[in-house]
Symmetry: D2
Subunit: 346 residues, 4 copies
């Protein structure tokens, strides 16, 4: 039984970790960390957990926690994990960081886009970017995993094969993303009130969203060269779900079958990436509550562009589910343990 | 392994049965019946099931089906199950009917409220009303279970202890219910279009909804006398969830603790009924996707009334989940097999 | 041209006042009071007003404001208006208070339910309860109008004729209310976040909501005796709209036509109260954005109860619209000036 | 007083025409055409119109209608208006067609994308594309106006100045659009049911949506050369609103101020196009219920692209509002008559 500690257990991603780990037969949560709710019953914060979780919330003492558990999930704001990280901790427990602290290899880019100083850059090199479908082997032996961002997970998986196989010109990539509101977190802000989000859609962070360099880095590895792209997120009136629609110019004439063969080669054996059938557009509702990413594409011969689409649940494959997937790999468990979640519809 | 056949597998309740049974280690679905989609891949109707269910839809041939499976779920319109039922079928398989055909013991009341002739009234007597928390023992030995309606499940469980223990005057009961739109089914009607339901709330079936006599019958058993009550359902802009708010006059002075003791006595050992803590009102979101019913109450000394509340997921405890719970009882499995579902929030 | 000052112009009710007054040909807003946004452009707070309102927000200086305008609307938290009120102010301007400060005639009841000391009880007697359909004449000559609460407006108008004409027993009245989330205001609270409200419904303030004594007082006038009732509000995932469903025992046998005749007698000539046709249930969407209250009823002979329903837009007839209606009466304008709003559907 | 006839008065666009014309002091509706509801009271179809509209629905007899009114609005499916159009009709009344029948000048393109034969191509040349901000003068003298599609209105107005002034390379334009569900019409289809749309987002018509050639034609006029572009619409869980996010490569280095100057030159004097302030992204909620289009842009020097955004209410500026704007121009009225609608928030 893997002993688990969660720091940031009362945010939405933290809550989803709890939900998933409750159904994981090889893991048990030993520490519900939440600075805001210390000594409060966890089930009083998330009443869905009434009579399921009996524990109270504890503080964020990572050093103490490292003594008690086998793995720590940090579902915390940017900068927290980096500020706590020490060799002493990593020598005792594995850490899966759901924040952006170790996702970007170039610390200057991190510091520029996030506007904070990185407190422990010495661990960046070691940290493995936990996009399991791409970095599976390195995750298996990692001590520190940087769990990918929600948008980058969906974007990268949707576009990766086309870039890697040279179907599209990386300099033409445009990613237009749409997210449910749980991605904005549980902080009490006017912008996230029901009445402000409902019956409304808007872009935000245009040309400046922090997930941009993360996507660029990952697609850069696929392209074998630096990639600059446009990434525009939109806030959609729904709780869960991310849909990305990506555009890029084709480098050669291709048929549907050509592209399908490429995507199948990468994802045929992937449990959690479903390449849909011809003509079927991904919908977020079809993956809700599950760890799936549904992807598909259309090759538009009129404009010579490839349009790529991906849908997933931002709290599962985009956060807690992928974190559990990484944990499974790190501890030698079957990758889908605790993640056999059938999407809920409607 | 229990072999399962579903008739009406492509309605919302049928789809939820499939979702739940996919996670049930002792059952496997052998027949996806759907008159409207014969020979179509099930996963083409419900794309969430892509790469999870490979079967195609079949017709509604109950006689043939009875040869192949151990239990048949009928998630069909009123009248269908009654029209197909024969001793020959019940001698071969167990049947769990999610429609109203066998819920009401007085065939005249059924025929009056539903406006159709009952095609096989000879089985009404035998059929067990599958509200597990109340009729557990009789369900265990049943061949034919009438799975309770969604509103009656939530209403009865919320009010039952107070009636049974004589706390309230049954002639004063008023139940004001609110339901998500999946309760209206998947039929293509203007009234259920997104734009008609969204940003809107309305009552419907006022003083005439068909679930009224079902609730009256069940509470009548508790009261030991016939009960007449008002039941008013409302359509709420959400997919899932039923909330009921019930009112009745107290027959004697009671404290919170008195009433709590009564509810605890009935539900203390019930896994799926959670009596919330003092002052906490049930919310549908806290049970979404799960088989829980959350109940609570307020004793209002100003008006001398008891206000009782209950929340559940209409597709789970209100339909498919309860049906699986009944199946578990009928086949001697632990009652919660396949139903260890943690509510999804948000 | 009536010169208008608004205190609390950046709350939802304040914003709706601005929307309505922009289309009012006899009024112009001279003062956008908002303590939180002093010196900020009003249109930067509510971007829908971009290029429509050019003013900046000012403070809450009621004394100074009284020098500059003909009428002040206070769309402020409980206690504010009472704390500012002086004879000196009322001698200069008319005041329409959208808070509860002057709605309840018995100051002890106010102080008990609101939990605050009333700062200027000497004006309670003079204040007119601005439910125009009932107190029209007294509103016309008022200096100080207590604009009714949202729930009390909908509840009282839906039930009033039946009580006044003795059709129902006032001691049996139960009001089950459902409201959109704008009623909770624009404060940044976790409970009102999109993800907490969406796909969810709950009761709140059970047996203790502050609008209870206000409704009881008004229906008490109709009954000619004190009335105690149960009022239970619910939070519904929609922006606007209140629906109430009220229940009471009939005092005599009545037909639909009897009750219809009573309601018609009261509302036949009322522009803003629409008694719907037989069998049609009110829906909040049908009145959205307008000043209408749609009411209807069902006489249930089975239970001998009258079920009364009412729907309105909580920000219009439930707040800003009724406030403008009161202003029109106070200034001798046609009552519907600026309120000829056609409901928006869908 | 302009006498108005509407054909297709019971669709969502037709209903919105009725709402707007009820508030138009120079127009009165004489004919509510609706094949599906002949002889039914209009207010029984749209209960928001109870006691506002007393008329019953009539058939689609355009010839008879032409005798009785001054202008006919056809809010009908593709092909209907073309099939009825005759010189005889146009000689008697003005026609504003809300369908696509006369929007595209090249009949071959129309027939290819719409898959139907055009029944009266002889009127295509004469028809004026009713995008008032661009074709104002020609609209004034038109007999037949092709009211622009919802997506093309928002897309063209958002991108037009940048193309016209040569800021961007037209061959690189990509338009990613998001629409509320009222755009899908009031037909009873499973895909548009509440439960299918709610908590969901999807792309549709990828690389093949019929509004593509309409946008290409209009931007082609601006570019002075044929334009091919990608247009991808998405269905968003909200009733009203369209947001477009458009991308194109800059042809030269520009500052924010350069682009702002261009947009201001085109829209400074336009009442219904609001160029937002620097850094403010358009939101559909800020224009809901009004005839405004809010536009803005970001010049991304990193990728050398211009990102253009536009938001509007698809039923107002995207359909009925623009149709009324066209009517005003055709009849010599001030362009904003009946369109002084303040957006409703929240």
């Amino acid at each position: 039984m893997i002993k688990v500690g969660i720091i940031g257990a009362t945010g939405y991603a933290g809550g989803e970790l709890v939900r998933l780990l409750m159904g994981h037969r090889e893991a048990e949560i030993k520490w519900y960390g939440s600075r805001s709710y210390i000594d409060k019953k966890y089930a009083d914060v998330y009443q869905n957990m009434f009579r399921i979780v009996e524990d109270v919330c504890k503080d964020d003492n990572m050093a103490e926690l490292a003594e008690q558990v086998d793995v720590i999930f940090t579902a915390t704001p940017q900068g927290f994990c980096a500020s706590m990280m020490k060799e002493e901790i990593l020598s005792k427990v594995k850490v899966i960081d759901l924040s952006a602290d170790y996702r970007i290899k170039d610390v200057n880019i991190y510091e520029k886009w996030y506007g904070i100083k990185h407190a422990s850059p010495q661990f960046i090199e070691e940290a493995v970017y936990g996009l399991c479908e791409i970095n599976r082997d390195r995750v298996k032996s990692a001590r520190l995993v940087a769990n990918p961002g929600c948008y980058p997970t969906c974007s990268t998986l949707s576009v990766y094969p086309a870039v890697k196989e040279g179907l599209i010109d990386p300099s033409t990539i445009i990613i237009d993303a749409k997210s449910g509101t749980s991605g904005a977190g549980r902080g009490a802000k006017v912008d996230n009130l029901y009445c402000e989000v409902n019956e409304n859609i808007k872009a935000y962070g245009v040309a400046g969203h922090r997930h941009t360099p993360e996507i660029e880095e990952q697609l850069g590895y696929a392209a074998g060269q630096p990639v600059l792209l446009n990434f525009t997120p939109h806030l959609v009136p729904m709780n869960r779900g991310i849909l990305i629609t990506a555009y890029a110019s084709l480098k050669k004439e291709v048929t549907y079958e050509d592209v399908k063969a490429v995507y199948d080669r990468y994802y045929n054996k992937e449990k959690f990436v479903r390449v849909l059938e011809k003509g079927v557009c991904p919908q977020t509702k079809w993956v809700e509550g599950s760890n799936y990413v549904d992807v598909n594409f259309v090759a538009d011969e009129r404009t010579n562009r490839l349009i790529m689409m991906g849908a997933m649940d931002n709290l599962v494959k985009g956060a807690a589910g992928q974190a559990v997937q990484n944990m499974n790999l790190m501890f030698g468990l079957p990758e889908s343990t605790g993640l056999e979640l059938v999407p809920m519809f409607p």
